[in-house]
């Protein structure tokens, strides 16, 4: 099991023949680009755009939970700080959106750094509890620092996205494509992290921390870098959120958000390539479908989660990819490539025991 997930460079053959995972990813990308043609109402476009904004947050969470094995319940808070950074700079100081973006990334990275330093030595359950406390603290600051954040009254109105290189983002389609571009960048970044030195180090630490330390990997520093990167991404996702909704209140950084995004990502499949998108869809679409009966969406999300954790611990995406593997193994037709067919597919991460954050 563990061996299957080792980082292997794609062979030349597999580069020419796209693997199943790559085909699925490509199809999803095309489908996303066609969304404005498929969804003919502003309401659906709004939901689709929100799903893509939260995909950014889920990518951040995936790096943290899936790659670094750190189950953070603070990412909602970091997302909130990113969105407030942009919101405050735009609404109160008249900044151009594009200048607030790096500021939000920086704010996120800084939070990740503080959280990382505070939790450097903590493992498993203890990291979760500490991140929970950290997230709650962030929320309390946002709520109570009224002179800056507007407190419980909220902050707004926040202007829409400023134009870039002459391109304006006024109608819902252009906003959608702007966010889609970011979602592609985030997902690409996620794969790049996975294949980078940082990714292999995280992988090694997750597989066997003692062995990793023995070959000269510093677990604390690697974790810290991963947390900072992940928090910066969460900050940028938050930054994108503010001009889109135009108004912020402290509930964006609520613990509730942190819980639900973690649950949605687990349902979707931690560590998988499509997990963030599917997770964001679960997080946004399910409550939207059950609008007006919010309490049922709580039950639905909770029950789905409990069933997934119990019977499909790799999540929806991970389980689908496992099933595909098994189908291939069952078929007598040998795979076209000597290496397992979807070795490079996003799904292969699911077998690393992505939630193994703890006692290693």
């Amino acid at each position: 099991m563990a061996l299957a997930s080792e980082v292997t460079k794609p062979s030349r053959g597999s580069r020419r023949t796209p693997t199943a995972g790559q085909l699925v990813l490509g199809a999803v990308a095309v489908l996303l680009m066609l969304m404005p043609v498929i969804l003919l109402s502003d309401y659906y476009m709004q939901i689709a755009t929100l799903v893509l904004i939260y995909t950014g947050l889920m990518v951040a969470l995936n790096v943290c939970i899936g790659y670094a094995g750190l189950v953070s319940v603070a990412h909602g808070g970091i997302f909130g700080v990113g969105s407030y950074a942009t919101g405050i700079l735009m609404a109160n100081h008249g900044w151009n959106f594009w200048y607030t973006l790096p500021a939000a990334a920086l704010a996120g990275a800084l939070l990740g750094l503080i959280m990382g330093i505070l939790t450097l030595r903590l493992q498993g359950h203890y990291f979760v509890i500490a991140s929970l406390g950290f997230g709650l603290l962030v929320y309390l600051v946002v709520l109570n620092w009224s002179s800056v954040t507007g407190g419980a009254q909220g902050l707004g109105p926040i202007a829409p996205y400023d134009s870039l290189f002459g391109i304006t983002f006024e109608d819902s389609d252009s906003q959608y494509y702007l966010i889609l571009a970011f979602a592609f960048v985030f997902t690409g970044l996620m794969f790049a992290i996975r294949r980078s030195k940082l990714g292999s180090r995280l992988e090694a630490i997750r597989q066997n921390q003692r062995l990793a330390s023995a070959v000269g990997i510093d677990p604390s520093r690697t974790r810290l870098v991963a947390l900072v990167v992940s928090a910066a991404i969460a900050g940028v996702a938050g930054s994108l959120y503010s001009p889109y909704v135009g108004f912020l209140d402290p509930s964006v950084s609520n613990l509730d958000v942190s819980f639900k995004i973690a649950l949605a990502l687990v349902i979707a499949g931690v560590g998988t390539g499509l997990g963030p998108l599917v997770g964001a869809a679960v997080y946004i679409v399910l409550p939207e479908m059950l609008r007006g009966v919010e309490q049922y969406s709580l039950i639905a999300l909770g029950v789905v989660l409990l069933v997934v954790v119990r019977f499909a611990p790799h999540g929806l995406v991970g389980t689908a990819s496992d099933l595909y593997d098994r189908l291939i193994a069952a078929g007598h037709r040998p795979p076209p490539d000597p290496s397992p067919p979807d070795q490079e597919s996003p799904g292969d991460l699911s077998r690393t025991g992505a939630l193994s954050g703890g006692k290693r």
Binding site: V71, H125, L132, L263, Q295, I299, L305, V309
Partner: protein, 289 residues
């Protein structure tokens, strides 16, 4: 003088509630390594059951007993359906499952009882003055019941066969199996005791606070703060830690700022985790494995 004793009394009352939940959490987290984050939601369910039964029977005490028993059964159900099947899963999975349980319980509570706050009338109305502090009888009941409970817990864990096997399983699951104890039965028992304690906390809290689906949220976090403050597996530490946290909160919100009420617990949590993860009374740490 009056204000200080009043704040002190409030802190002890609050702390007793925290201690009750924390003792249950110390049993299942410190002993069985199950992060039962849903105990706050269990307390909320206990409070609703208290409200229902007190309304129907007219007796607060019957309601408390029913709530405790009902929650004990919920604990058994939780262990059988959720945590026992996950015992070989990575630790974080249990956490996530507990979050899922919170959502399910809160969802059910708001479906069944709505979002409106319910009120439970106290068994003993009225109050008395003690060193300038006005203390309601219900608050006195909370403190007396929890004191009695803590004594009973100690006797149970130190003197009874079952209590000793729980402690043995905590010491070493393998060792306990070798000498013929059944860890799964023990964890079932510990979880049901823990849930029953959470239910008791909810039942005691019901007359002094509003009963709402989210009333238990901060209780879960605080119970974790307490047992981390106390050190893992230390029941005595959980009691003292709960009282300390209650006092910190009462004095913090009385003299520093009410807005940061929940923040004081978090400051304590982060300070302890950063400086002394083994807790104030902990012998060895599980935190940096």
């Amino acid at each position: 003088m009056g204000q200080i004793t009043q704040t002190f009394a409030n802190g002890i009352m609050l702390g007793s509630i925290y201690s009750i939940v924390a003792v249950g959490l110390a049993l299942v987290f410190g002993v069985m390594d199950i992060p039962q984050f849903a105990f706050g939601a269990h307390a909320m369910i206990g409070a609703y059951i208290t409200w229902l039964i007190a309304d129907a029977s007219g007796s607060y005490w019957i309601a408390v007993v029913v709530a405790v028993i009902a929650l004990g059964f919920l604990g058994v159900l939780t262990q059988v359906a959720i945590f026992d099947p996950l015992r070989k899963a990575p630790p974080a999975t249990m956490f996530i499952a507990a979050f899922g349980l919170v959502m399910v319980l809160q969802g059910f509570a708001s479906v069944i009882w709505g979002a409106d706050a319910r009120r439970v009338t106290s068994a003993a109305s009225g109050s008395f003055t003690f060193f300038g502090a006005s203390i309601t009888y219900q608050r006195l009941i909370i403190v007396i019941v929890s004191a009695a409970l803590f004594i009973a817990m100690f006797v149970f864990l130190k003197r009874t066969r079952t209590g000793i096997s729980i402690r043995a399983a905590a010491e070493s699951a393998v060792g306990a199996t070798v000498v013929g104890l059944r860890p799964r039965a023990i964890s079932l028992l510990a979880m049901s005791i823990g849930s029953a304690l959470a239910g008791l906390a909810g039942a005691l809290l019901a007359p002094v606070s509003q009963v709402t689906p989210t009333m238990g949220d901060s209780l879960s976090i605080k119970a974790f703060v307490v047992i981390i403050l106390a050190g893992m597996g230390s029941i005595g530490g959980a009691i003292v830690g709960g009282l300390v946290l209650g006092l910190v909160e009462a004095f913090g919100s009385g003299y520093i700022s009410l807005d940061w009420r929940d923040g004081f617990a978090v400051f304590v949590l982060i300070a302890i985790l950063a400086l002394r993860p083994e807790g104030l009374f902990g012998k060895e740490t599980k935190a940096w494995r």
